[in-house]
């Protein structure tokens, strides 16, 4: 059974210049034990889409969705209060900016204890043991001391790990990890990824991993979705995505990998800027910046074609031969 199923989710925000479409018709299906990575342009709606799933967007946001189910429960039919109870228990999220997600007025230990108390309960002693255990498995040195520390007394990477500990407090079935390792050095990063993989393998935890780190994607993900300007433009198993990207945006993104880029002072970039509200193209949203664009691209928006193994939104896919095989 599908752990998370999202059909046609869209989110818009009111701004001075009218509605801003942050997320446009995205779909997600995650089963127990799945690892789905979401990559893509900064500002393409990755975090907003996940915040919509968690019901954490400001009330001004306009959210529409055809289906939103978690662990068999229909969230669209559920009162907000009941929905909130799922958060932290069935489904948990590691937020992108740990230092602004932790409450500065409470110690880290208190905040982890809260999460355990609400979702798992247990005696004070049991909760303390679990909290220290969590701090330890996320690799925080000196858990006893950090338990009593306030967020501002910790380094960036430590607050990030404290967030991860909090998200794992109640053994969630689905974990949404939004840039979980950006503030971490590579050794700790490797340790956290191993921990998440272990939970995925032993407990069948489903994992949605949002990251800009292609190394992390290559090493952990099974499927990868690529987003651009609020839309999903491509989905492929990880190997195919890295070796035969079909969407020109995906290809351009991979070209900017520092280790793939040609030597020299400047790295390859994508010319131009994402479309705004006023200059939203009638055709493909990537067409003003796409080096492969043709007449049709400027006239007609490509639809997201979803096949079991791959999704694509492009009139003129790259590497088409490899697809057929």
């Amino acid at each position: 059974m599908s752990l998370l199923s999202v059909r046609n989710l869209s989110v818009a925000f009111p701004t001075q210049n009218g509605w801003f479409q942050a997320v446009e018709g995205i779909h997600l299906a995650v089963n127990a034990g799945d690892i789905l990575a979401i990559v893509g342009e900064s500002g393409s709606g990755k975090s907003v889409a996940m915040m919509a799933v968690m019901n954490l967007l400001p009330p001004t946001a306009r959210i529409t969705c055809d289906e939103l189910k978690i662990d068999g429960q229909d969230l669209l039919a559920m009162p907000a209060k009941q929905r909130r109870k799922l958060n932290g228990g069935t489904i948990a999220m590691i937020f992108q900016e740990p230092m602004s997600s932790l409450n500065p007025c409470f110690t880290v230990g208190y905040q982890i204890d809260e999460a355990i108390r609400i979702h798992l309960g247990g005696s004070k002693k049991e909760r303390l043991e679990r909290a220290l255990h969590l701090l330890e498995i996320v690799g925080i040195p000196d858990p006893q001391r950090r338990y009593k520390a306030y967020p501002h007394q910790m380094s960036g990477g430590m607050s990030q790990r404290a967030m991860i500990a909090m998200a794992l407090a109640a053994n969630p079935k689905l974990l949404i990890a939004d840039e979980p390792t950006t503030a971490l050095d590579v050794t700790v990063q490797a340790q956290i990824l191993e921990l998440l993989l272990k939970l995925q393998q032993t407990q069948g935890m489903g994992l949605i991993l949002i990251t800009h780190d292609m190394g992390v994607v290559a090493e952990t993900a099974q499927q990868v979705v690529v987003q651009y300007a609020g839309q999903q433009v491509e989905k492929q198993p990880v190997f195919g995505l890295f070796n035969h990207p079909h969407h020109p945006y995906t290809a351009a993104l991979l070209d900017a990998l520092p280790e793939r880029a040609p030597a020299g002072d400047f790295l390859p970039t994508i010319q131009g800027i994402v479309p705004g509200q006023k200059d939203r193209p009638t055709g493909c949203l990537f067409s003003p910046r796409c080096t492969h664009a043709q007449v049709l691209c400027h006239e007609q928006q490509p639809a997201l074609v979803r096949q079991p193994e791959q999704w694509l939104r492009c009139h003129y896919p790259l590497n088409p031969v490899e697809v057929a095989q």
Binding site: F13, T15, Q16, N17, V39, E41, S42, G43, K46, S47, V48, Q96, E97, M99, P141, D142, R145, K148, A149, Q153, S155, G156, G157, M158, E179, T182, A183, L184, D185, V186, T187, V188, Q189, A190, L193, H212, M214, G215, V217, A218, E219, F239, F242, N243, A252, L253, L254, A256, L257, P258, E259, D265, L267, P268, T269, I270, I273, V274, G276, K278
Partner: protein
């Protein structure tokens, strides 16, 4: 080339209260770091989480006054005991690791980017607006976004706002704490190119803190590897990436995930965890986790010394290097 920034033996100690009745603890986050940086050069600072990188950044910019040590800016000593004056602020800028926390939630982006120009230049209103618009496009943000407040942005967009703000006054030195980790590859490339361009044009010097070694390799002239509040290795980028000499540097460099599917780099797994500042290890701080540790390592803290074009704080570096090349 001319030196723009020099740090001598910078130290920072924090006093952490542990509840009402317990004795406050002192945490030595920075334990004597020195370096010199020329105009037009980039020093990258790398090292494990909690090793003191952000503390170093805050000391260099006098956001926190260091508990000891000297700072020199363009050959002039800086009064480290006091908050920086306006002239110093203009010359040394910082991009924080946590951009959201450093952006005023009640100001629009326009106000935020315009403010330093208003205070420090004689530009007219139109000129200021034009300068803001130009900077917005350079960091890849939509011009109409200037009327928005910080909470209305994605993580990577906020990061770019913080970078734009630091660059507005064309400072001499910019300390960037994890400036590109929240950015997608293409925007990251755009920002790195912008930094390189400004460095070429204006001779900016950067202290660039990053966990991303592929970025460091790309942009750094010099690399400082920190461990437990100290530099354990310092060399030019070419040297350190081709022949890392300190056991910690070797372990750090081996753990980078590779952006190729199916390819996993051989990893030296670091045993144990970073030392606790409350119970610092005897002698070499890396000793408890070092595969090459000997009795001699526990005697005293190894100092940086010249070795094969680098500075290395390991008493056995020669022997270790010899064994590994065979």
């Amino acid at each position: 080339m001319s030196e723009v920034l020099r740090a001598v033996n910078l130290r920072q100690e924090y006093v952490a209260r542990q509840g009402l009745f317990q004795k406050p603890l002192s945490v030595r986050a920075l334990n004597g770091v020195s370096f010199s940086l020329n105009a037009g050069e980039t020093l990258a600072v790398v090292g494990e989480s909690g090793c003191g990188k952000s503390t170093l950044a805050r000391s260099l910019t006098l956001i926190e006054t260091p508990s000891a040590g000297e700072l020199w800016l363009a050959g002039q000593p800086v009064d480290t005991a006091h908050k920086p004056d306006a002239a110093l602020r203009q010359r040394v800028q910082m991009v924080f690791q946590n951009p959201y926390g450093s952006l005023n939630p009640r100001k629009t982006i326009q106000q935020m980017l315009e403010e330093p120009l208003l205070l420090n230049t004689k530009l007219s209103r139109d000129e200021r607006r034009a300068a803001v618009a130009d900077m917005m496009s350079r960091v890849g943000l939509r011009p109409e976004f200037v009327e928005r407040y910080p909470h209305m942005f994605s993580g990577g967009q906020r990061q770019r706002i913080a970078i734009a703000r630091a660059l507005m006054l064309k400072p001499k030195v910019v300390v960037l704490d994890e400036p590109v980790s929240a950015l997608d590859l293409s925007v990251r490339a755009q920002i790195l190119n912008l930094l390189t361009e400004l460095q070429h044009d204006l001779g900016l010097a950067y202290v660039f803190i990053s966990h991303d070694l592929s970025v460091v390799q790309r942009i750094a002239d010099y690399v400082m590897v920190m461990y437990f509040g100290r530099a354990v290795e310092y060399a030019d980028a070419q040297t350190i990436f081709s022949t890392p000499q300190h056991p910690y540097t070797k372990a750090l460099f081996s753990a980078t995930p590779v952006a190729e599917v199916g390819e996993k780099r051989e990893r030296i797994h670091l045993q144990g965890e970073p030392p606790s500042p409350l119970r610092p290890p005897q002698g070499c701080p890396f000793g408890p986790r070092c595969a090459y540790v000997q009795e001699a390592c526990r005697q005293e803290i190894p100092l940086l010394r010249e070795l094969n074009k680098a500075q290395v704080a390991c008493i056995q570096a020669e022997a270790i290097n010899k064994n590994q090349t065979i």
